[in-house]
Symmetry: C2
Subunit: 306 residues, 2 copies
Amino acid sequence: MAEREFIARRLAPIATSLAARGLADDAAVWTPPLGRDLVFTHDVLAAGVHYLPDDPPGDVAWKLLAVNLSDLAAMAATPAGVLLGLAGPDDAAWRDAFTAGLARALDHFGVALWGGDTVGGLAGHVLGLTAIGWVEPGKALGRAGAQPGDGLWVSGTIGDAGLGLAVAQGRAPFDKQLLNRFRRPMPRLALGQALGGIATAGMDVSDGLLIDAQRLAAASGVGLAINLDAVPLGVAATGLEDRLARVTAGDDYELLFTAPAGVDVAALAGRTPVTRIGAVVAGAGLSLNHDGKPLALPDRLGWEHG
Amino acid sequence: MAEREFIARRLAPIATSLAARGLADDAAVWTPPLGRDLVFTHDVLAAGVHYLPDDPPGDVAWKLLAVNLSDLAAMAATPAGVLLGLAGPDDAAWRDAFTAGLARALDHFGVALWGGDTVGGLAGHVLGLTAIGWVEPGKALGRAGAQPGDGLWVSGTIGDAGLGLAVAQGRAPFDKQLLNRFRRPMPRLALGQALGGIATAGMDVSDGLLIDAQRLAAASGVGLAINLDAVPLGVAATGLEDRLARVTAGDDYELLFTAPAGVDVAALAGRTPVTRIGAVVAGAGLSLNHDGKPLALPDRLGWEHG
Protein backbone atom coordinates (compact mmCIF):
# COMPACT_ATOMS: atom_id res chain seq x y z
CA MET A 1 0.00 0.00 0.00
CA ALA A 2 1.44 3.39 -0.97
CA GLU A 3 1.93 5.91 1.83
CA ARG A 4 -0.94 8.10 0.70
CA GLU A 5 -3.28 5.15 0.43
CA PHE A 6 -2.26 3.97 3.92
CA ILE A 7 -2.99 7.43 5.31
CA ALA A 8 -6.38 7.57 3.62
CA ARG A 9 -7.42 4.02 4.54
CA ARG A 10 -5.93 3.54 8.00
CA LEU A 11 -5.13 6.90 9.58
CA ALA A 12 -7.84 9.22 8.24
CA PRO A 13 -10.64 7.07 9.76
CA ILE A 14 -8.99 7.56 13.18
CA ALA A 15 -8.46 11.29 12.69
CA THR A 16 -12.06 12.29 13.23
CA SER A 17 -11.56 15.65 14.96
CA LEU A 18 -12.32 18.88 13.15
CA ALA A 19 -8.69 19.97 13.64
CA ALA A 20 -7.39 17.05 11.55
CA ARG A 21 -9.35 18.18 8.45
CA GLY A 22 -9.59 14.52 7.42
CA LEU A 23 -5.77 14.48 6.99
CA ALA A 24 -6.52 15.99 3.58
CA ASP A 25 -4.59 19.27 4.02
CA ASP A 26 -0.94 20.17 4.59
CA ALA A 27 -1.47 20.82 8.31
CA ALA A 28 -3.99 20.67 11.16
CA VAL A 29 -5.85 23.74 12.42
CA TRP A 30 -6.97 23.94 16.05
CA THR A 31 -8.64 26.66 18.10
CA PRO A 32 -6.92 26.51 21.51
CA PRO A 33 -8.89 26.94 24.74
CA LEU A 34 -9.02 30.60 25.75
CA GLY A 35 -6.66 31.74 28.49
CA ARG A 36 -4.57 28.58 28.67
CA ASP A 37 -0.88 27.97 28.14
CA LEU A 38 -0.03 25.20 25.67
CA VAL A 39 2.34 22.33 26.42
CA PHE A 40 4.31 20.48 23.72
CA THR A 41 6.38 17.32 23.85
CA HIS A 42 7.94 15.01 21.25
CA ASP A 43 9.34 11.58 22.11
CA VAL A 44 10.77 9.02 19.72
CA LEU A 45 10.60 5.23 20.19
CA ALA A 46 13.03 3.20 18.09
CA ALA A 47 12.79 -0.58 17.66
CA GLY A 48 15.56 -2.31 19.59
CA VAL A 49 16.28 0.79 21.69
CA HIS A 50 13.03 1.63 23.48
CA TYR A 51 11.08 -1.54 22.83
CA LEU A 52 11.77 -5.07 21.61
CA PRO A 53 11.30 -5.49 17.84
CA ASP A 54 8.95 -8.43 18.52
CA ASP A 55 6.68 -6.51 20.91
CA PRO A 56 3.07 -6.54 19.68
CA PRO A 57 2.57 -3.50 17.37
CA GLY A 58 -0.59 -2.48 19.22
CA ASP A 59 1.38 -2.31 22.46
CA VAL A 60 4.11 -0.27 20.75
CA ALA A 61 1.44 2.22 19.69
CA TRP A 62 0.11 2.35 23.24
CA LYS A 63 3.60 2.94 24.63
CA LEU A 64 4.37 5.65 22.04
CA LEU A 65 1.27 7.58 23.06
CA ALA A 66 1.64 6.83 26.77
CA VAL A 67 5.24 8.03 27.13
CA ASN A 68 4.34 11.33 25.47
CA LEU A 69 1.22 11.75 27.59
CA SER A 70 3.38 11.00 30.62
CA ASP A 71 5.50 14.03 29.69
CA LEU A 72 2.33 16.14 29.58
CA ALA A 73 1.25 14.68 32.93
CA ALA A 74 4.62 15.62 34.40
CA MET A 75 3.92 19.24 33.39
CA ALA A 76 0.39 19.15 34.89
CA ALA A 77 -1.12 19.43 31.41
CA THR A 78 -4.33 18.05 29.91
CA PRO A 79 -3.73 16.39 26.51
CA ALA A 80 -5.62 17.56 23.41
CA GLY A 81 -4.05 16.20 20.21
CA VAL A 82 -1.09 14.39 18.70
CA LEU A 83 0.86 14.20 15.45
CA LEU A 84 2.44 10.90 14.38
CA GLY A 85 5.71 10.24 12.54
CA LEU A 86 5.61 6.60 11.41
CA ALA A 87 8.82 5.49 9.66
CA GLY A 88 9.82 1.89 9.05
CA PRO A 89 9.69 -1.15 6.80
CA ASP A 90 6.93 -1.80 4.25
CA ASP A 91 5.16 -4.22 6.59
CA ALA A 92 1.41 -3.88 6.07
CA ALA A 93 0.45 -6.36 8.82
CA TRP A 94 2.61 -4.55 11.39
CA ARG A 95 1.21 -1.19 10.34
CA ASP A 96 -2.38 -2.36 10.51
CA ALA A 97 -1.91 -3.75 14.02
CA PHE A 98 -0.05 -0.60 15.08
CA THR A 99 -2.79 1.64 13.73
CA ALA A 100 -5.56 -0.36 15.38
CA GLY A 101 -3.68 -0.18 18.68
CA LEU A 102 -3.13 3.54 18.28
CA ALA A 103 -6.85 4.05 17.69
CA ARG A 104 -7.67 2.18 20.91
CA ALA A 105 -5.07 4.13 22.89
CA LEU A 106 -6.23 7.51 21.56
CA ASP A 107 -9.80 6.56 22.42
CA HIS A 108 -8.81 5.42 25.92
CA PHE A 109 -7.13 8.74 26.72
CA GLY A 110 -9.60 10.91 24.81
CA VAL A 111 -6.90 12.39 22.59
CA ALA A 112 -7.28 13.36 18.92
CA LEU A 113 -4.97 12.42 16.04
CA TRP A 114 -4.35 15.69 14.23
CA GLY A 115 -1.84 14.71 11.56
CA GLY A 116 1.64 13.47 10.83
CA ASP A 117 3.69 11.72 8.20
CA THR A 118 4.60 8.18 7.14
CA VAL A 119 7.71 6.79 5.45
CA GLY A 120 8.21 3.24 4.19
CA GLY A 121 11.13 1.25 2.86
CA LEU A 122 13.34 1.56 5.94
CA ALA A 123 15.12 -1.21 7.88
CA GLY A 124 13.69 -0.61 11.38
CA HIS A 125 10.86 1.33 12.91
CA VAL A 126 11.45 4.85 14.20
CA LEU A 127 8.24 6.21 15.71
CA GLY A 128 7.86 9.85 16.66
CA LEU A 129 4.89 11.42 18.37
CA THR A 130 4.19 15.02 19.25
CA ALA A 131 1.63 15.55 22.00
CA ILE A 132 -0.06 18.90 22.59
CA GLY A 133 -1.91 19.82 25.76
CA TRP A 134 -2.92 22.81 27.83
CA VAL A 135 -2.50 24.03 31.37
CA GLU A 136 -3.76 27.02 33.38
CA PRO A 137 -1.24 29.89 33.15
CA GLY A 138 1.44 29.61 35.82
CA LYS A 139 0.42 26.08 36.84
CA ALA A 140 2.82 24.10 34.63
CA LEU A 141 5.09 21.87 36.71
CA GLY A 142 8.84 21.85 36.14
CA ARG A 143 11.93 20.15 37.52
CA ALA A 144 13.18 23.36 39.12
CA GLY A 145 11.38 24.59 42.23
CA ALA A 146 11.92 21.96 44.92
CA GLN A 147 12.67 23.63 48.28
CA PRO A 148 14.49 22.20 51.32
CA GLY A 149 11.84 20.92 53.72
CA ASP A 150 9.51 19.73 50.92
CA GLY A 151 8.52 16.09 50.92
CA LEU A 152 9.61 13.85 48.01
CA TRP A 153 6.80 11.72 46.62
CA VAL A 154 6.29 9.10 43.95
CA SER A 155 3.09 7.68 42.46
CA GLY A 156 2.22 3.99 42.05
CA THR A 157 4.96 1.38 42.29
CA ILE A 158 8.52 1.42 40.97
CA GLY A 159 10.51 -1.27 39.15
CA ASP A 160 7.62 -3.32 37.79
CA ALA A 161 8.39 -2.34 34.20
CA GLY A 162 11.98 -3.54 34.67
CA LEU A 163 10.63 -6.92 35.78
CA GLY A 164 8.30 -6.83 32.78
CA LEU A 165 11.27 -6.27 30.46
CA ALA A 166 12.87 -9.43 31.91
CA VAL A 167 9.64 -11.31 31.14
CA ALA A 168 9.59 -9.91 27.58
CA GLN A 169 13.20 -10.99 27.10
CA GLY A 170 12.50 -14.50 28.44
CA ARG A 171 14.73 -13.95 31.48
CA ALA A 172 11.81 -14.33 33.90
CA PRO A 173 8.64 -16.47 33.97
CA PHE A 174 5.57 -15.15 32.16
CA ASP A 175 3.61 -12.58 34.15
CA LYS A 176 0.97 -10.64 32.23
CA GLN A 177 0.73 -7.82 34.75
CA LEU A 178 4.47 -7.14 34.80
CA LEU A 179 4.67 -7.44 31.01
CA ASN A 180 1.92 -4.83 30.76
CA ARG A 181 3.83 -2.48 33.04
CA PHE A 182 6.66 -2.58 30.46
CA ARG A 183 4.57 -2.56 27.29
CA ARG A 184 1.51 -0.54 28.26
CA PRO A 185 2.53 2.14 30.78
CA MET A 186 -0.22 4.30 32.31
CA PRO A 187 0.54 8.02 32.27
CA ARG A 188 -0.51 9.68 35.54
CA LEU A 189 -2.62 12.38 33.91
CA ALA A 190 -5.15 12.93 36.71
CA LEU A 191 -2.42 13.18 39.33
CA GLY A 192 -0.34 15.55 37.20
CA GLN A 193 -3.31 17.85 36.70
CA ALA A 194 -4.06 17.79 40.44
CA LEU A 195 -0.46 18.74 41.25
CA GLY A 196 -0.38 21.81 38.96
CA GLY A 197 0.21 24.96 40.99
CA ILE A 198 0.68 22.95 44.21
CA ALA A 199 3.70 20.65 43.80
CA THR A 200 6.97 22.61 43.82
CA ALA A 201 8.70 20.37 41.23
CA GLY A 202 7.84 17.26 39.24
CA MET A 203 8.85 14.96 36.42
CA ASP A 204 8.04 11.48 35.17
CA VAL A 205 10.25 8.50 35.95
CA SER A 206 11.40 7.12 32.61
CA ASP A 207 15.10 6.27 32.96
CA GLY A 208 15.12 5.02 36.57
CA LEU A 209 13.97 6.51 39.86
CA LEU A 210 17.49 7.37 41.05
CA ILE A 211 18.81 8.93 37.83
CA ASP A 212 15.62 10.93 37.38
CA ALA A 213 15.68 12.06 41.02
CA GLN A 214 19.27 13.18 40.47
CA ARG A 215 18.12 15.28 37.52
CA LEU A 216 15.31 16.87 39.53
CA ALA A 217 17.78 17.68 42.33
CA ALA A 218 20.20 19.28 39.86
CA ALA A 219 17.48 21.34 38.16
CA SER A 220 16.20 22.59 41.53
CA GLY A 221 19.66 23.17 43.03
CA VAL A 222 18.86 21.04 46.07
CA GLY A 223 19.68 17.64 47.52
CA LEU A 224 17.25 14.75 47.79
CA ALA A 225 17.36 12.35 50.76
CA ILE A 226 15.66 9.12 49.70
CA ASN A 227 14.62 6.35 52.08
CA LEU A 228 15.20 3.33 49.85
CA ASP A 229 12.96 1.14 52.02
CA ALA A 230 10.03 3.52 51.55
CA VAL A 231 10.05 3.24 47.75
CA PRO A 232 6.84 1.35 46.87
CA LEU A 233 7.46 -1.86 44.89
CA GLY A 234 4.86 -3.92 43.06
CA VAL A 235 6.67 -7.16 43.91
CA ALA A 236 8.62 -7.60 47.18
CA ALA A 237 12.40 -7.29 46.74
CA THR A 238 14.58 -10.32 47.57
CA GLY A 239 17.28 -8.15 49.10
CA LEU A 240 19.18 -4.92 48.79
CA GLU A 241 20.65 -5.71 45.37
CA ASP A 242 17.19 -6.48 43.99
CA ARG A 243 15.82 -3.31 45.56
CA LEU A 244 18.54 -1.25 43.90
CA ALA A 245 17.76 -2.94 40.57
CA ARG A 246 14.15 -1.76 40.83
CA VAL A 247 14.97 1.89 41.48
CA THR A 248 17.36 2.00 38.51
CA ALA A 249 15.24 -0.04 36.06
CA GLY A 250 13.24 2.77 34.44
CA ASP A 251 10.17 2.74 32.14
CA ASP A 252 7.95 3.29 35.20
CA TYR A 253 6.19 6.44 33.94
CA GLU A 254 5.20 7.25 37.48
CA LEU A 255 5.39 10.86 38.69
CA LEU A 256 8.19 11.95 41.01
CA PHE A 257 7.39 15.25 42.71
CA THR A 258 8.01 17.48 45.67
CA ALA A 259 5.38 19.22 47.80
CA PRO A 260 5.50 21.53 50.80
CA ALA A 261 5.09 19.79 54.16
CA GLY A 262 1.64 21.30 54.77
CA VAL A 263 0.01 19.86 51.63
CA ASP A 264 -2.26 16.81 52.06
CA VAL A 265 -0.81 15.01 49.07
CA ALA A 266 -2.81 11.81 49.54
CA ALA A 267 -6.09 13.74 49.49
CA LEU A 268 -4.96 15.70 46.45
CA ALA A 269 -4.02 12.50 44.63
CA GLY A 270 -7.49 11.02 45.14
CA ARG A 271 -7.56 7.51 43.69
CA THR A 272 -3.92 7.58 42.56
CA PRO A 273 -1.63 5.89 45.11
CA VAL A 274 1.20 8.16 46.27
CA THR A 275 4.04 7.48 48.70
CA ARG A 276 6.42 9.81 50.49
CA ILE A 277 9.90 8.40 49.83
CA GLY A 278 12.10 11.15 51.22
CA ALA A 279 12.73 14.83 51.63
CA VAL A 280 14.28 17.79 49.87
CA VAL A 281 17.41 18.95 51.70
CA ALA A 282 19.92 21.77 51.27
CA GLY A 283 22.96 20.78 49.21
CA ALA A 284 23.20 18.80 45.99
CA GLY A 285 22.70 15.29 44.63
CA LEU A 286 21.15 12.20 46.15
CA SER A 287 21.63 10.59 49.53
CA LEU A 288 20.20 7.11 50.19
CA ASN A 289 19.09 5.59 53.45
CA HIS A 290 18.58 1.84 54.00
CA ASP A 291 17.84 0.02 57.26
CA GLY A 292 18.21 3.33 59.07
CA LYS A 293 21.77 3.82 57.81
CA PRO A 294 23.29 5.85 54.96
CA LEU A 295 23.91 3.79 51.81
CA ALA A 296 26.44 4.61 49.05
CA LEU A 297 24.89 5.35 45.65
CA PRO A 298 25.16 2.47 43.14
CA ASP A 299 27.51 3.02 40.18
CA ARG A 300 24.63 2.94 37.73
CA LEU A 301 21.59 5.12 38.53
CA GLY A 302 19.52 4.30 35.44
CA TRP A 303 19.41 4.53 31.65
CA GLU A 304 21.40 7.19 29.81
CA HIS A 305 19.84 6.68 26.36
CA GLY A 306 17.73 9.74 26.43
CA MET B 1 28.51 11.87 23.59
CA ALA B 2 25.47 10.51 25.44
CA GLU B 3 22.06 11.74 24.29
CA ARG B 4 21.53 13.92 27.34
CA GLU B 5 24.94 15.51 27.00
CA PHE B 6 24.32 16.18 23.30
CA ILE B 7 21.02 17.87 24.15
CA ALA B 8 22.64 20.00 26.85
CA ARG B 9 25.72 20.96 24.79
CA ARG B 10 24.34 21.31 21.28
CA LEU B 11 20.57 21.74 21.36
CA ALA B 12 19.94 23.71 24.57
CA PRO B 13 22.16 26.63 23.39
CA ILE B 14 19.89 26.92 20.32
CA ALA B 15 16.67 26.65 22.32
CA THR B 16 16.78 30.15 23.75
CA SER B 17 13.05 30.91 23.83
CA LEU B 18 11.20 31.05 27.13
CA ALA B 19 8.87 28.28 25.90
CA ALA B 20 11.76 25.80 25.62
CA ARG B 21 12.60 26.11 29.35
CA GLY B 22 16.23 25.40 28.49
CA LEU B 23 15.19 21.89 27.35
CA ALA B 24 15.41 21.03 31.05
CA ASP B 25 11.79 19.94 31.56
CA ASP B 26 9.61 17.17 30.17
CA ALA B 27 7.81 19.51 27.76
CA ALA B 28 7.67 23.07 26.40
CA VAL B 29 5.15 25.64 27.62
CA TRP B 30 3.97 28.40 25.29
CA THR B 31 1.38 31.14 25.63
CA PRO B 32 -0.34 31.31 22.23
CA PRO B 33 -1.30 34.64 20.65
CA LEU B 34 -4.81 35.65 21.68
CA GLY B 35 -7.61 35.07 19.19
CA ARG B 36 -5.63 32.99 16.72
CA ASP B 37 -6.09 29.47 15.44
CA LEU B 38 -3.04 27.23 15.70
CA VAL B 39 -1.60 25.22 12.82
CA PHE B 40 0.37 21.99 13.29
CA THR B 41 2.39 19.90 10.86
CA HIS B 42 4.85 17.02 11.18
CA ASP B 43 7.04 15.86 8.30
CA VAL B 44 9.71 13.16 8.38
CA LEU B 45 12.86 13.11 6.23
CA ALA B 46 14.63 9.75 5.96
CA ALA B 47 18.15 9.34 4.56
CA GLY B 48 18.00 7.70 1.14
CA VAL B 49 14.29 8.44 0.72
CA HIS B 50 13.94 12.23 0.96
CA TYR B 51 17.58 13.23 0.67
CA LEU B 52 20.86 11.62 -0.35
CA PRO B 53 22.81 10.15 2.60
CA ASP B 54 25.87 12.19 1.51
CA ASP B 55 24.02 15.54 1.44
CA PRO B 56 25.71 18.07 3.76
CA PRO B 57 24.11 17.71 7.24
CA GLY B 58 23.56 21.48 7.49
CA ASP B 59 21.54 21.36 4.27
CA VAL B 60 19.54 18.40 5.58
CA ALA B 61 18.65 20.47 8.64
CA TRP B 62 17.62 23.36 6.40
CA LYS B 63 15.44 21.08 4.29
CA LEU B 64 13.83 19.46 7.36
CA LEU B 65 12.79 22.85 8.67
CA ALA B 66 11.91 24.27 5.24
CA VAL B 67 9.56 21.45 4.18
CA ASN B 68 7.62 21.80 7.43
CA LEU B 69 7.46 25.59 7.16
CA SER B 70 6.27 25.10 3.60
CA ASP B 71 3.29 23.15 4.98
CA LEU B 72 2.54 26.07 7.31
CA ALA B 73 2.90 28.49 4.37
CA ALA B 74 0.42 26.38 2.40
CA MET B 75 -2.10 26.90 5.22
CA ALA B 76 -1.45 30.70 5.34
CA ALA B 77 0.14 30.34 8.78
CA THR B 78 2.95 32.23 10.52
CA PRO B 79 5.48 29.86 12.16
CA ALA B 80 6.26 30.11 15.88
CA GLY B 81 8.13 27.05 17.13
CA VAL B 82 9.32 23.54 16.30
CA LEU B 83 10.08 20.24 18.03
CA LEU B 84 12.82 17.99 16.66
CA GLY B 85 13.04 14.19 16.55
CA LEU B 86 16.64 13.31 15.69
CA ALA B 87 17.21 9.56 15.31
CA GLY B 88 20.25 7.99 13.66
CA PRO B 89 23.77 6.66 14.00
CA ASP B 90 26.20 7.74 16.74
CA ASP B 91 27.99 10.14 14.39
CA ALA B 92 29.11 13.18 16.38
CA ALA B 93 30.51 15.08 13.38
CA TRP B 94 27.29 14.66 11.41
CA ARG B 95 25.21 15.72 14.41
CA ASP B 96 27.33 18.79 15.07
CA ALA B 97 27.06 19.94 11.46
CA PHE B 98 23.33 19.20 11.45
CA THR B 99 22.78 21.16 14.65
CA ALA B 100 24.81 24.13 13.42
CA GLY B 101 22.78 24.16 10.21
CA LEU B 102 19.52 23.89 12.13
CA ALA B 103 20.52 26.88 14.26
CA ARG B 104 21.18 28.95 11.11
CA ALA B 105 17.90 27.88 9.52
CA LEU B 106 15.86 28.62 12.65
CA ASP B 107 17.52 32.01 12.87
CA HIS B 108 16.85 32.73 9.19
CA PHE B 109 13.13 32.04 9.54
CA GLY B 110 12.78 33.51 13.03
CA VAL B 111 11.46 30.25 14.48
CA ALA B 112 12.14 28.89 17.99
CA LEU B 113 13.30 25.38 18.91
CA TRP B 114 10.95 24.33 21.70
CA GLY B 115 11.99 20.75 22.36
CA GLY B 116 12.21 17.24 21.02
CA ASP B 117 14.07 13.99 21.44
CA THR B 118 17.22 12.28 20.20
CA VAL B 119 18.05 8.61 19.66
CA GLY B 120 21.44 7.16 18.75
CA GLY B 121 22.73 3.76 17.72
CA LEU B 122 20.56 3.38 14.60
CA ALA B 123 21.63 2.46 11.05
CA GLY B 124 20.27 5.48 9.13
CA HIS B 125 18.92 8.91 9.94
CA VAL B 126 15.18 9.42 10.42
CA LEU B 127 14.49 13.08 11.12
CA GLY B 128 11.11 14.29 12.28
CA LEU B 129 10.06 17.87 12.85
CA THR B 130 6.82 19.30 14.17
CA ALA B 131 6.16 22.92 13.24
CA ILE B 132 3.59 25.03 15.06
CA GLY B 133 2.20 28.31 13.72
CA TRP B 134 -0.86 30.51 13.92
CA VAL B 135 -3.39 32.02 11.58
CA GLU B 136 -6.32 34.40 11.95
CA PRO B 137 -9.55 32.46 12.56
CA GLY B 138 -11.18 31.38 9.31
CA LYS B 139 -8.19 32.39 7.18
CA ALA B 140 -6.43 29.00 7.02
CA LEU B 141 -6.01 27.80 3.44
CA GLY B 142 -7.00 24.27 2.45
CA ARG B 143 -7.07 22.08 -0.63
CA ALA B 144 -10.86 22.14 -0.80
CA GLY B 145 -12.51 25.36 -1.95
CA ALA B 146 -11.44 25.89 -5.57
CA GLN B 147 -14.38 27.07 -7.68
CA PRO B 148 -14.91 26.80 -11.45
CA GLY B 149 -13.85 30.13 -12.95
CA ASP B 150 -11.00 30.66 -10.46
CA GLY B 151 -7.51 31.13 -11.84
CA LEU B 152 -4.85 28.49 -11.08
CA TRP B 153 -1.55 30.00 -9.94
CA VAL B 154 1.91 28.87 -8.92
CA SER B 155 4.75 30.76 -7.22
CA GLY B 156 8.38 30.89 -8.39
CA THR B 157 9.65 28.32 -10.87
CA ILE B 158 8.97 24.61 -11.17
CA GLY B 159 11.34 21.69 -11.82
CA ASP B 160 14.58 23.30 -10.63
CA ALA B 161 14.82 20.99 -7.63
CA GLY B 162 14.52 17.99 -9.95
CA LEU B 163 17.47 19.32 -11.98
CA GLY B 164 19.29 19.89 -8.67
CA LEU B 165 18.72 16.25 -7.70
CA ALA B 166 20.37 15.22 -10.97
CA VAL B 167 23.36 17.43 -10.07
CA ALA B 168 23.51 15.89 -6.57
CA GLN B 169 23.45 12.39 -8.09
CA GLY B 170 26.21 13.27 -10.59
CA ARG B 171 23.85 12.87 -13.56
CA ALA B 172 24.23 16.55 -14.53
CA PRO B 173 27.08 19.08 -14.42
CA PHE B 174 27.63 21.03 -11.19
CA ASP B 175 25.27 23.97 -10.76
CA LYS B 176 25.17 25.53 -7.31
CA GLN B 177 21.85 27.28 -7.83
CA LEU B 178 20.03 24.15 -8.95
CA LEU B 179 21.66 22.10 -6.19
CA ASN B 180 20.39 24.63 -3.68
CA ARG B 181 16.88 24.37 -5.06
CA PHE B 182 17.02 20.66 -4.15
CA ARG B 183 18.88 20.92 -0.87
CA ARG B 184 17.76 24.26 0.52
CA PRO B 185 14.15 24.93 -0.52
CA MET B 186 12.61 28.29 0.37
CA PRO B 187 9.14 28.03 1.90
CA ARG B 188 6.80 30.73 0.55
CA LEU B 189 5.78 32.06 3.95
CA ALA B 190 5.06 35.68 2.97
CA LEU B 191 2.96 34.61 0.00
CA GLY B 192 1.05 32.04 2.05
CA GLN B 193 0.19 34.63 4.69
CA ALA B 194 -0.92 37.09 2.00
CA LEU B 195 -3.22 34.46 0.46
CA GLY B 196 -5.04 33.63 3.71
CA GLY B 197 -8.73 34.45 3.44
CA ILE B 198 -8.35 35.39 -0.25
CA ALA B 199 -7.20 32.33 -2.19
CA THR B 200 -9.97 29.71 -2.50
CA ALA B 201 -7.61 26.71 -2.20
CA GLY B 202 -3.88 26.14 -1.84
CA MET B 203 -1.14 23.61 -1.13
CA ASP B 204 2.60 23.33 -1.52
CA VAL B 205 4.17 21.47 -4.42
CA SER B 206 6.25 18.67 -2.93
CA ASP B 207 5.66 15.55 -5.01
CA GLY B 208 5.37 17.17 -8.47
CA LEU B 209 3.18 19.93 -9.89
CA LEU B 210 0.85 17.55 -11.75
CA ILE B 211 0.28 15.02 -8.97
CA ASP B 212 -0.23 17.78 -6.41
CA ALA B 213 -2.61 19.62 -8.75
CA GLN B 214 -4.54 16.37 -9.15
CA ARG B 215 -4.86 16.16 -5.35
CA LEU B 216 -6.10 19.76 -5.09
CA ALA B 217 -8.65 19.08 -7.85
CA ALA B 218 -9.89 15.95 -6.04
CA ALA B 219 -10.15 17.72 -2.67
CA SER B 220 -12.08 20.61 -4.23
CA GLY B 221 -14.29 18.41 -6.43
CA VAL B 222 -13.34 20.34 -9.57
CA GLY B 223 -11.21 19.96 -12.67
CA LEU B 224 -8.02 21.88 -13.36
CA ALA B 225 -7.11 22.95 -16.90
CA ILE B 226 -3.34 23.55 -17.00
CA ASN B 227 -1.51 25.29 -19.83
CA LEU B 228 1.76 23.37 -19.77
CA ASP B 229 3.56 26.12 -21.69
CA ALA B 230 2.65 28.70 -19.04
CA VAL B 231 4.32 26.80 -16.19
CA PRO B 232 7.33 28.95 -15.22
CA LEU B 233 10.65 27.08 -15.46
CA GLY B 234 14.00 28.20 -14.03
CA VAL B 235 15.88 26.69 -16.98
CA ALA B 236 14.38 26.53 -20.47
CA ALA B 237 13.07 23.10 -21.43
CA THR B 238 14.67 21.29 -24.38
CA GLY B 239 11.33 19.93 -25.54
CA LEU B 240 8.02 18.48 -24.46
CA GLU B 241 9.53 15.44 -22.72
CA ASP B 242 11.85 17.68 -20.71
CA ARG B 243 8.96 20.01 -19.84
CA LEU B 244 6.90 17.06 -18.60
CA ALA B 245 9.87 15.92 -16.50
CA ARG B 246 9.92 19.31 -14.76
CA VAL B 247 6.25 19.33 -13.82
CA THR B 248 6.52 15.82 -12.33
CA ALA B 249 9.89 16.23 -10.58
CA GLY B 250 8.72 17.49 -7.16
CA ASP B 251 10.62 19.00 -4.22
CA ASP B 252 9.71 22.49 -5.50
CA TYR B 253 8.04 23.77 -2.31
CA GLU B 254 6.30 26.44 -4.34
CA LEU B 255 2.66 27.27 -3.61
CA LEU B 256 -0.07 26.10 -5.96
CA PHE B 257 -3.31 27.98 -5.37
CA THR B 258 -6.57 29.14 -6.85
CA ALA B 259 -8.01 32.64 -6.66
CA PRO B 260 -11.21 34.27 -7.94
CA ALA B 261 -10.84 36.06 -11.27
CA GLY B 262 -11.25 39.52 -9.71
CA VAL B 263 -8.28 39.23 -7.34
CA ASP B 264 -5.07 41.08 -8.29
CA VAL B 265 -2.85 38.15 -7.36
CA ALA B 266 0.40 39.77 -8.54
CA ALA B 267 -0.19 42.82 -6.32
CA LEU B 268 -1.09 40.56 -3.39
CA ALA B 269 2.07 38.50 -3.88
CA GLY B 270 4.28 41.58 -3.69
CA ARG B 271 7.89 40.53 -4.23
CA THR B 272 7.07 36.84 -4.70
CA PRO B 273 6.82 35.92 -8.39
CA VAL B 274 3.50 34.30 -9.28
CA THR B 275 2.24 32.94 -12.60
CA ARG B 276 -1.23 32.01 -13.76
CA ILE B 277 -0.90 28.51 -15.25
CA GLY B 278 -4.51 27.59 -15.83
CA ALA B 279 -8.07 27.67 -14.61
CA VAL B 280 -10.48 25.80 -12.40
CA VAL B 281 -13.19 24.11 -14.45
CA ALA B 282 -16.26 22.03 -13.69
CA GLY B 283 -15.64 18.30 -13.72
CA ALA B 284 -12.78 16.29 -12.24
CA GLY B 285 -9.06 15.68 -12.67
CA LEU B 286 -6.46 17.41 -14.80
CA SER B 287 -6.48 18.46 -18.43
CA LEU B 288 -3.27 19.62 -20.10
CA ASN B 289 -2.82 22.01 -22.98
CA HIS B 290 0.40 22.30 -25.04
CA ASP B 291 0.96 24.34 -28.22
CA GLY B 292 -2.72 25.28 -28.15
CA LYS B 293 -3.80 21.63 -28.28
CA PRO B 294 -4.98 19.12 -25.64
CA LEU B 295 -2.21 16.81 -24.41
CA ALA B 296 -2.69 13.39 -22.80
CA LEU B 297 -1.53 13.14 -19.17
CA PRO B 298 1.81 11.38 -18.71
CA ASP B 299 1.70 7.94 -16.99
CA ARG B 300 3.63 9.26 -14.02
CA LEU B 301 2.41 12.52 -12.44
CA GLY B 302 4.98 12.72 -9.61
CA TRP B 303 6.24 10.98 -6.48
CA GLU B 304 3.99 8.66 -4.50
CA HIS B 305 6.25 8.27 -1.44
CA GLY B 306 4.22 10.45 0.82
